[in-house]
C-alpha cells in the first residue's frame, strides 16, 4: 500500500515515513504545499496524510483542488489545528479523517488501516479468502490454520491483493502501490514477488488462490 505524506516539519515527516515503512507501507513525502499538490495529483497513492499549515500552498487548498480534479484517494488530515471548526471545515472540504497533533503512532496506524479498508469490501482488519486469512492489524497471514512467514514486501503485496480480492490487478498498478516514486516501473520485479508468495501460499494446497490473468495481471480469489 502506498501512502503520501505532505508535512512541512521535516523531522516529523521523516519519522512517520520510517514508521510506516517498517509497517510495510510504501511512503512518498512532500515538504511543502506545491510539491504535495503535484504529488497528490500525479502519483498513484492509496492514502494521503495532509498537514493544513504548509508553505506555498496550504493543505485545505490542496484538498479542495484535488477533490475538484476528481482524485478520490482517502485523505487523513494531520494537523495542530484542533478546534471543532477546523475539523468541520477539513471534513467538509473532502477529508476522510482528521487527527490532531500530538498523536499516538498506533492511533495513526489504526486510522490508516480503517481508511484503506473503506475503499474495499472488507470492513474489519481480518480478510478471508477461502481458507487464507490476512490480519492487517498484526500482519499475520495464515492458510489452513498454519502461519505463513512473509517478508515486509511480500506481506504488502498479499495485503494489497487481499484488499482487492476477486479483482484483476495489473503489474503497473501493483508496482505503483508497492514502490515509491523513485522506482523504475518497467521492472518485472512484481513477477518475482508473485512467484515467491505463490510458493508460500499455494504450494501444497489443491485449491490455488493466486491466478494469473494473461495479458491483464494477477488476482487473489477464494
Amino acid at each position: 500500500m502506498r501512502i503520501s505524506i505532505v508535512e512541512d516539519e521535516k523531522s516529523l515527516a521523516d519519522i512517520i515515513k520510517k514508521g510506516l515503512e517498517e509497517e510495510g507501507y510504501v511512503v512518498d513525502v512532500a515538504y511543502n504545499g506545491e510539491d504535495g499538490l503535484f504529488m497528490a495529483e500525479n502519483e498513484p497513492s492509496d492514502l494521503i496524510i495532509l498537514d493544513i499549515m504548509l508553505p506555498i500552498i496550504d493543505g485545505m487548498t490542496i484538498l479542495k483542488r484535488i477533490r475538484k480534479a476528481g482524485v478520490k484517494t482517502p485523505v487523513l488530515m494531520l494537523t495542530a489545528k484542533d478546534t471543532i471548526m477546523d475539523k468541520v471545515s477539513g471534513l467538509d472540504s473532502g477529508a476522510d479523517d482528521y487527527l490532531t497533533k500530538p498523536f499516538l503512532f498506533d492511533e495513526l496506524l489504526a486510522r490508516i488501516r480503517a481508511l484503506l479498508r473503506r475503499n474495499s469490501d472488507v470492513k474489519t482488519s481480518i480478510i478471508e479468502i477461502g481458507d487464507l486469512i490476512v490480519d492487517m492489524a498484526t500482519h499475520e497471514v495464515k492458510r489452513g490454520g498454519k502461519n505463513i512467514s512473509l517478508s515486509a514486501k511480500e506481506y504488502a503485496l498479499v495485503e494489497y491483493m487481499a484488499l482487492n480480492k476477486n479483482k484483476v490487478l495489473s503489474r503497473t498498478s501493483l508496482t505503483e502501490h508497492l514502490y515509491d516514486q523513485d522506482f523504475d516501473l518497467d521492472s518485472n520485479v512484481i513477477d518475482v514477488f508473485i512467484n515467491r508468495i505463490r510458493n508460500k501460499i499455494d504450494r501444497g494446497f489443491y485449491t490455488k488462490l493466486i491466478y494469473t490473468v494473461r495479458g491483464a495481471g494477477y488476482m487473489l480469489r477464494g
Partner: protein
C-alpha cells in the same frame, strides 16, 4: 447588616423620625397634663373660695354654716372631695367628714396659695392651700389670726386619662415608625433597584460572555457613570482575557508539532530493537524538538510578560546610539559569517527614557533579522534621527524581502513568511511580535516596508523625550 446602604438609610431615617416624634409626644403630653391640672386646680380654688365665704366669723369666734347640700359633696359614701380649715398656726378648726381620721398635710411653710399632688390614703389627690380671703381680712387683723382653707380632690380619673393618653401617644409613635420603616424600605429598594439591575447584569457576565455590557441608556442618569465605568472595566478585562486565551491557543498550537516529533520518534523507535546509530538519531531529533519547544516557551513568556499591563521595566536615560552599537557588536560574528557589512549612521547621541534590556532585545532581534534574511555579501544600514516627538531608527537591508501580502501579518504572533526557511534558522515566528510589544511599551511603533528581492526597511518609532514611556 449595617453595611448595606438600604439598612443605613432606613436606620438613619428611623432614628431621626424617632427623635422628632418623641419630642412631639412629650410636648403633647405635657400640654395636656397642664390643661388637666389647671382645670382641677381652678376647680379646687373656686371651691376653697366658696368655702371661705361661708365662714362666719365673729370677732373671736369662728363659726361655720355649711348647708347639707354643700356638705353632701364632702360626705358621700365614696367621697372624692375633701376640705380642712385650719388656723394660721395649723390648728384644725373643721374638716370634711370625707376625711374621716386622716388629715390633709400641712407644714405651715407653704406659700399663700399653693397647689400640690399628694397621696391621701394611697390615692393620688390634688391639694390646694388657700389663705383666708379678703372679706375676712379685717377680722384676721383684729384677731391677729387668719384661716387656711385646704381643699383636695381625688384625681385618679385624671391620672388614668393621662396614662391612657401616654399609651395612645406611644402606640401611635411606634406604629408611625413601623409604617415609615416599611415605607422607607420600599422606597430605598425602589431607589436601589437600578443598582440591583446593574449588579445582576454584572453577575451574568462571565468568562463565556465577556463581551456582554450594561446598557447605559437604560440606566437612570445618576448611575450612568457607574455603569460606564463598569463597562470600561469589562472592556479591559475582556482585552486581557482574550490576550491570555490567544496566548494559550498560540502556545498549544506551536508546541503541538515539536511534541508530535518527540512522541512519534520515541514511539516508533521503541517498537523494536534498533542499532545504536538509530537510537542516537532518534534522541538527537527528540532533543532538537525539545530545544525548539523550550525556545518557543521562553519567547511566549517574554511576550506574556510584555503584554501584561504592569511590566517590570527599569526606566532610565539611555543613549540609543549606544544600544544600537552594542547590538551590532553582539551580532558581528554572525554578520561576518555571511559577509554582510553593517553601517551605523548616528550623527549625534540621542537619549530616550526606556528599559535597557528591552531596547537591547528589540534592536538585536531586528538587526538579527536584517542579517539572517539578507543575501550573502549584503548590506545593512542603520540610522537614527530625531523627528517631532519621536526618535526614529531605521534598519535597512538588501535581503530577500517580504511578499506584499505578508507585510501586514509579519508583526502577528507566530507568523512566518517562509516556514521551512525560518525553521532552518531556528525562528519561532515570535521575534517581530516581541519587538512590536517593546516599541509599544516605549510609546512607539514599528513600521515595515519591503520589496521582494530588494530588501526590507524596518522603522522603529520611540517616544522622543521618553518621559511618557509607560
Amino acid at each position: 447588616m449595617l453595611s448595606s446602604i438600604k439598612a443605613k438609610i432606613i436606620t438613619f431615617y428611623i432614628a431621626i423620625l424617632f427623635v422628632i416624634l418623641s419630642v412631639l409626644g412629650v410636648l403633647l403630653y405635657l400640654s395636656l397634663s397642664k390643661i388637666v391640672y389647671d382645670a382641677v386646680d381652678s376647680g379646687l380654688l373656686s371651691r376653697a373660695k366658696s368655702l371661705a365665704t361661708l365662714v362666719d366669723s365673729d370677732n373671736s369666734k369662728t363659726e361655720f354654716e355649711f348647708s347639707d347640700e354643700i356638705m353632701w359633696e364632702y360626705n358621700s359614701p365614696k367621697p372624692k372631695s375633701f376640705f380642712q380649715i385650719r388656723r394660721l398656726d395649723g390648728f384644725t378648726l373643721e374638716k370634711s367628714a370625707s376625711l374621716k381620721d386622716s388629715e390633709l398635710p400641712f407644714s405651715g411653710k407653704e406659700p399663700r396659695t399653693y397647689f400640690k399632688t399628694i397621696l391621701l390614703n394611697g390615692t393620688p389627690t390634688r391639694l390646694v392651700n388657700f389663705h383666708a380671703p379678703d372679706e375676712i381680712e379685717n377680722m384676721s387683723k383684729n384677731s391677729g389670726n387668719g384661716l387656711i382653707i385646704q381643699c383636695a380632690e381625688n384625681i385618679q380619673n385624671q391620672l388614668n386619662l393621662l396614662k391612657r393618653y401616654r399609651l395612645i401617644l406611644s402606640l401611635s409613635i411606634l406604629s408611625i415608625m413601623l409604617i415609615s420603616a416599611s415605607g422607607g424600605f420600599i422606597i430605598s429598594r425602589k431607589a436601589l433597584a437600578p443598582v440591583k439591575d446593574i449588579s445582576d447584569t454584572v453577575d451574568k457576565i462571565s468568562e463565556a460572555n465577556l463581551s456582554e455590557r450594561i446598557n447605559v441608556e437604560n440606566v437612570s442618569k445618576e448611575l450612568q457613570t457607574l455603569a460606564s465605568s463598569f463597562n470600561r472595566t469589562f472592556d479591559s478585562l475582556e482585552r486581557s482575557f482574550n490576550r491570555q486565551r490567544q496566548f494559550a491557543a498560540d502556545a498549544s498550537h506551536e508546541l503541538r508539532t515539536p511534541l508530535s516529533v518527540i512522541m512519534s520518534q520515541s514511539e516508533i523507535v521503541l517498537r523494536k530493537e534498533r542499532s545504536l546509530e538509530e537510537y542516537k538519531n532518534a534522541l538527537t531529533a527528540v532533543m532538537e524538538a525539545a530545544r525548539m519547544m523550550s525556545k518557543i516557551v521562553r519567547k511566549l513568556l517574554t511576550i506574556a510578560r510584555l503584554g501584561a499591563d504592569k511590566v517590570d521595566l527599569k526606566i532610565e536615560n539611555i543613549n540609543l546610539s549606544g544600544i544600537i552599537r552594542e547590538s551590532v557588536n553582539l551580532l558581528r560574528p554572525l554578520a561576518e559569517q555571511k559577509g554582510i557589512s553593517i553601517n551605523i549612521l548616528a550623527t549625534e547621541p540621542l537619549v530616550i527614557c526606556g528599559d535597557r534590556a528591552a531596547l537591547l532585545e528589540l534592536f538585536t532581534n531586528l538587526i538579527d533579522n536584517a542579517i539572517k534574511y539578507n543575501v550573502p555579501q549584503g548590506k545593512t544600514n542603520i540610522s537614527i534621527k530625531k523627528e517631532t516627538g519621536f526618535i526614529v531608527a531605521e534598519i535597512k537591508d538588501t535581503g530577500i524581502g517580504i511578499p506584499e501580502e505578508d507585510l501586514d501579518k509579519v508583526l502577528d504572533r507566530f507568523y512566518q513568511v517562509d516556514k521551512s526557511r525560518s525553521k532552518e534558522s531556528g525562528g519561532t515566528g515570535l521575534g517581530l511580535s516581541i519587538c512590536n510589544e517593546i516599541a509599544k511599551l516605549h510609546g512607539g511603533r514599528i513600521e515595515i516596508k519591503s520589496k521582494l528581492g530588494e530588501g526590507t526597511i524596518v522603522t522603529i518609532y520611540l517616544k522622543g523625550n521618553g518621559s511618557e514611556a509607560k
